[in-house]
Symmetry: C2
Subunit: 298 residues, 2 copies
């Protein structure tokens, strides 16, 4: 493991565009991995720029994205998903020709499609999505170990530069992610099922509780709806960027829910038990896969 | 607080019928509160009887319910919900006339209705539902602090004996529960929304994930589906005993989910953001109520 890591590609000058929970955590994790790495970050807000310096998250903070990326060899765009696509041509034009550009967006098809419309961006961009986060948001919650043991999806298309794909993969591996490569479309289908649709379900569930019963909720209800506290604007943008896969998965979920409703209406209690039993089996299988994925040996 | 507790009613001989996670935890919590309390328990399985003695959960273990309750002044029936109703006449007949009988069942209307059909049971039974538990089940997971800071619903009807209602309420308060009194019907409506329907939603969600994406789930998916690992037989019985309220709540949840689906189909992204925002507001309100309820001062 150590020898792999020492031979792997490493950045010397990392620029983070948008230093919030994710961008800040990338900066902290990279700084911990390579103490001599130069890390710079950008934010339009003066207050955020001050705070990222105070917290030791970056060495230098810029208001202007073009200045921020001018000397970087690796650029991580951690802006909201809807902004990433529109920023890529400008970032490509302003950064050194050898620089590699990646992101941390929760959707991939729209971002990669946009990158590939711009020749310079197409040559330098490799999409990433580290599956790590929190219902909290903002710089103050950034932590160096956010990515440890987590999966990171790195996207590959016909037009992806293979050398840069390898660099980006090595970067995430060295932040202790498990890297999985797939197409942007595969990513969006998978994440609709594993993340985006569940978020909508949790939100609908939080809303469906008559408030007079709030004090009677237990850990069951509260865990099931934890993610409903997420940032509405961020989730709007994720759903917008992945609408068709999200609708497909909502359909799939709806038909499972319908099976429960039908069995209850028919008073088919054996059927209800079978459905609960199938759900438990599925949950246990998922847990085994997740436990394996996050075990410290991997 | 201490003076209230010292003046409150206390049992001298507690019988637990069905010593699993909940029954075992009632025994441990009561023993901790009143070290000189005699605690006896029943189980049909020889192995469980041995284990409840080994773990120090009860002083004596019986195979036979009638012998177990013969000298008790408080009897807590912690059997599966479908068995509680049918056991109450037998328990009433076998226990001292002054004994108080309660339970820990997750549904109340069917159990209280059954108790009130039997004159002896009607006079002695007060329904309880401590809102505490785990996706785990069994004696081995019993802990003395399971009820601390949790709500316990105690049911009251026209036929409930007021002295026993007070005893049962004081019993749970001394196990550090917050006691709420309501009718069995109000209980079942509230719990359908706060617990039973969310369980079905979590189960449907666990089942709706294509298994090839299991490794890409994060803490969001896994918290949202945690309770899907619960015991299928227990949940079948809960849903069976509370079918009509569960169907009403499924309807309510379904219409919230439909609002999301409609807004996405119409590409009404402002509408999607508003729904996420409403959900976050609801979740935050619920969290404030829950935090207040479980704060150590109360």
């Amino acid at each position: 493991m150590t020898s792999d890591r020492s031979q792997a590609w490493q950045p010397e000058h990392l620029a983070i565009i948008g230093v919030g929970l994710l961008g800040g955590s990338v900066a902290l994790a990279a700084k911990q991995r390579w103490p001599s790495l130069k890390v710079v970050g950008s934010s339009r807000k003066e207050e955020t720029r001050q705070r990222m310096i105070e917290l030791g998250i970056v060495d230098q903070a810029y208001a202007d994205v073009e200045t921020c990326v001018a000397s970087a060899d690796l650029i991580v765009v951690a802006a909201p998903v809807v902004q990433i696509a529109s920023m890529l041509p400008m970032i490509s034009a302003a950064s050194p020709p050898d620089a590699t550009i990646t992101d941390v967006g929760s959707t991939k098809q729209a971002i990669v499609d946009a990158a590939e419309l711009d020749a310079a961006a197409a040559a330098r961009f490799v999409g990433s999505h580290p599956i790590a986060g929190s219902e909290k948001s903002g710089l103050e919650y950034a932590v160096a170990n956010l990515f440890r043991g987590k999966h990171c999806i790195v996207t590959s298309t016909d037009r992806t530069d293979q050398k840069r794909l390898e660099q980006v993969s090595q970067f995430w591996r060295q932040l202790e992610c498990r890297v999985v490569t797939m197409s942007p479309q595969q990513h969006d289908t998978a994440l609709a099922a594993a993340s985006h649709m569940p978020h909508i379900v949790a939100a609908a569930l939080a809303q469906s509780l008559p408030m007079e019963f709030a004090s009677l909720t237990g850990t069951g209800f509260n865990d099931t709806t934890r993610i409903a506290a997420g940032d509405p604007l961020m989730w709007r943008q994720i759903v917008e960027a992945n609408a068709s896969s999200v609708l497909d998965q909502l359909e799939r979920f709806g038909s499972r829910l319908e099976s429960f409703r039908d069995a209850i209406k028919r008073a088919d209690w054996d059927g209800v038990e079978r459905l609960f039993s199938d759900a438990r089996t599925a949950k246990q299988q998922i847990l085994r896969v997740v436990d394996r994925a996050t075990s410290p040996d991997l």
